[in-house]
Symmetry: D2
Subunit: 339 residues, 4 copies
């Protein structure tokens, strides 16, 4: 039984703890911490955890009954616990984004390189989604030849909150594509550009420009257009289509009952993200648990992947100011992260 | 320019005349007759035909300016004009059903056999529908192997009229499948059975039992279930699925715009038959015109096909009384109708 | 942690144990028995179970460290352990079919009625399949009105083994529809009929007639045709379409990648059952574990459901001799099994 | 019967003449001209036309037995006959592109403005395609709200000829989207940009860069990405998806038989354009004939639409040199072309 220490007890922490308690095998939560102690206590109580409520993140990481750390705190507080976990040689699963600054990403990567070992897994759960998995496998199989162009839709019925900003379409929504696309295309990003098409007049959120189109170019030349729309009204949809030299592969329609009624043949569309990636959330954490339990480095998205996403998102947010393409630059990829 | 004489000037006659005037090539209507003279005159006027209004069906058939006859009169009045046309060696396109009695069908077939030539085409327009054509071609190609089982839906949004009867589901609706199925399966009918499943409580038509299931067995063993439903409410749909030894072939969904709206991914379904077979109605009559213009016998459904449909429908209506399967018996197929 | 005693250590036992060890929560296997002791030992070893190998089924059932029993032995050996478990007031999950004789089903039901409590869950896993769940919910919601007709396909790429018999299409394949259909339609069976359509000439299995069509009629009149085909060649497919008074609901196509290649737009079809019901197998046993752990009777298919399936399958196999419909008769449903 | 004079007797002329002879109503070809007299004679002979072979385009236009002109000659020879037809006040249907220079477009427009009447219809047949028609109607109905973004695919199995150039992807392929998009979006173009993604290594045509992405921005802000691919290998596909404020509307999959075989559920994709727009070619010319016969100006794409396409295509070809967006500039739209 792997002992997990949890840092940050908000909404996504609830998802992970619910999975650990009700769906995953081989792990339990033994220590929890939140800057708001009541939040930590509430979580322990809600799920009946036999976990201690720590008084600091550090206390969680250093605890003897903690084998690995799960970081779910606010985005700008991931850095310290990740660094401390690496120093303590404890594997750490962190929610995305890994950190909020490029410099911090570099430090985390440096720390792993110095340790000569990978400890970090970043919570880009889409890689564990069975349909993305099929897409990756199909591309790698050569069935459609080399991938040349892509088209994605990341559509929400309505924005997640009234405080969702123009930048959040990038650092909260597009961040997922920023991880998945280089993985699918087996390539690196050359540039990223954000453009604002005709805006949606039904958008109630003044501080948020919507929709947006992100155009990603890769070093081998592939171009992918990602359409972001937080006011689709009709439903929540994640689409990804890859055009290769010999064919096209794309995520399938999500399986819902086939209905004939009211002069329509139809299936229903999800309202929000909660159904779409349920299984992916479980599979990513189970894989982390299984790898760690087997004394292996995590097999999911690495600190380097977190770094890529961070730089790409930063540049995309920069591009929002001019709508011009900006170069995505990263240092040389350390050998530790070569496959 | 082929000169056509039209007998019967009701609704379906209007469809054919509209096609002749606006869509088909190489034919014009030169003589028209209806027992209600005003109906004939109205049709001439509506379409600006330069056609004479005859005082009898016979006058139409015998007219020197009539090369071929189109019979659209009431179902029970097809027989005489068809016989007279055959005797006059004039090709005749008749609406389905060819006649309303088995004895009359036999006489028509006998007349053609005696003349040593086929003159009659029966208006089973589905054979000219591009999707049924594809289905036939695919079966004949061997792609799915020998056809073993079939499943059809013949669904209307609401019944055509308040006078539509229990028998009309057979002689007006199923009559189309009674022609198409032996053609698709390259086989002959062995038996036919009608059963009444749980009845639709929304059915406003007391004189009509709805839905009904017709089970057809063929001589080589194939079994096809045809589901008839005049109160589908959701729309008009004609489906036909053929299960072969190595695969399945079925009519595709009817192409309508792909829509995402209101939490649904959908396409609209037709309200009634008027859109579904527009092209088939044009193609069947154009083919009749082209064959006749080329001094050939019609290439569409023959008098023998009309005879098969007549017997099959008769037996199905008999079966409604007991819900038991009844044998479909026909005399030996004359050489004239062998391919 | 719920302690499970396992009786029968063959292939399906492996599936359940694999799930218990790797996917399910809250249960462990503590005792195992198989008439071939080596089979039991191999299972314990393969999954690293800390379970004792018992010398009889009875020893498993009576063991103090067994809270509930899982019966996976040969079909004709389910009866004794189920009866003993009921007498011991221990919940028992049994693979389908519950037993192989109507008399035994009656005795199991009698035993539960006498105990005033339900202990048995029968392994009809389809009820736990998310798509069947959606179908059930949609019907119950009234969206399509009362269910009037159904159409199912139960197609295998090739027969499971060379020993698969004409009867096995009923007691091994159709048995699943025999459970699912009365559940979906909220009705009871009135009659069942098996017919043999044109046979598949590619069938290599001389002892097996294939395909077959089972026609089920329900007491409220609904008619369902189930097409069984063990030599579909194109793939494994489970389809279920329900036609209601106002619309149609049917299981969706199974989600596989959308592909454009080789002049086709396509998705791949499963080769066999192993992918289709993976989740359903997990959910049925998890539900059994959760209910038992909460000191409740199992919530899945009951002994009465097992009885219905047994009688229906028996009558269907009888019907294979004449291809005539046979009445499905059951005694009065005891109050214990009323919802 | 409308008398048509045909200028240019190549491949597309054959398509139109075949339609006039075999499918369209109310028109005949009375005069034909081609710079290669044998080509004109061959066409007359092939279709049994009772048409005179003229010795110049002018002779066709001025002929007393010519009511309207059809221009199918080489792209760079459309200008003179169009101008002469306008001067002669004879309606003229011209194949796309209207002319090959912006200056000529301006002169044609000026000539019509001066005449105070529209005579020209440009052969952008897609506007007559029933699915594009549905798409236009749906957008105009407001169902999906204002159109914000678009995504198109214009894919060919293999390039039309070995001489197809990098520019031809724009002036021969994209030219269709250059007409259809402003029509669908009810807007004008602001800029156009061509980019070359990773190139297809299977491309056998050295002089042609493939694929290409054209990004069109409209004055109200809408952005549309058009993916052009002449080596799709898998088939010919024309796709158009419009994302509006409240939903998405897109062209449906082209109806081909639904097949289950070889472990796939699939439908076949067209090999080339010949099937896709058969009906549109007929409808566009029939509409021209009907309008002219009714003494009305043509109702299809106007000289102004031809001008827009010309300028847009020119700018796109310019953009191929830098891959930068270029402004699309047109003079003020004359009142004659306001709806």
């Amino acid at each position: 039984m792997l002992n997990l220490g949890l840092i940050g007890c908000g909404s996504i922490a609830g998802t992970h703890v619910d999975n650990i308690v009700n769906h995953l095998k081989g792990a339990q939560v033994t220590e929890v911490f939140d800057v708001v102690r009541e939040a930590a206590e509430a979580l322990v109580s809600k799920y009946g955890l036999s976990a201690k409520v720590a008084t600091s993140a550090s206390q969680v990481i250093q605890a003897e009954d903690v084998d690995a750390v799960v970081v779910c705190s606010r985005n700008d507080t991931h850095f310290e616990p990740i660094m401390e976990a690496i120093k303590a040689h404890k594997p750490v699963f962190t929610e995305k984004p890994m950190t909020t600054s490029q410099k911090e990403c570099q430090k985390i990567v440096d720390a792993e390189v110095q340790a000569g070992q990978r400890f970090v897994q970043v919570g880009f759960m889409r890689r564990y989604d069975p349909y993305y998995q099929q897409l990756k496998k199909t591309i790698d199989s050569g069935l459609i030849g080399a991938p040349l162009m892509g088209y994605c839709r990341h559509f929400a019925t309505v924005p997640p909150t009234e405080y969702f900003t123009t930048e959040n379409l990038i650092d909260d929504s597009f961040v997922h594509e920023s991880d998945i696309l280089h993985w699918l295309f087996n390539d690196e990003y050359k540039s990223v550009q954000v453009q604002f098409p005709r805006q949606n007049s039904t958008n109630q959120n003044e501080g948020m420009r919507d929709p947006q189109i992100v155009t990603v170019k890769m070093k081998q030349g592939a171009i992918v257009n990602v359409y972001l729309d937080m006011n689709s009204h009709y439903g929540y949809e994640i689409k990804c289509q890859v055009v290769g030299e010999k064919g096209i592969a794309q995520l399938p329609e999500i399986n819902n009952l086939d209905l004939h009624a009211d002069r329509k043949v139809y299936h229903e569309v999800d309202y929000d993200w909660s159904n779409r990636f349920t299984e992916a959330y479980q599979l990513e954490l189970q894989d982390f648990i299984d790898q760690v339990a087997a004394n292996k480095s995590p097999a999911g998205p690495t600190a380097w992947d977190g770094y890529i996403a961070n730089v790409t998102v930063d540049r995309a947010i920069q591009s929002q100011k001019t709508e011009e393409p900006l170069t995505v630059e990263l240092p040389q990829k350390p050998a530790l992260y070569q496959k």
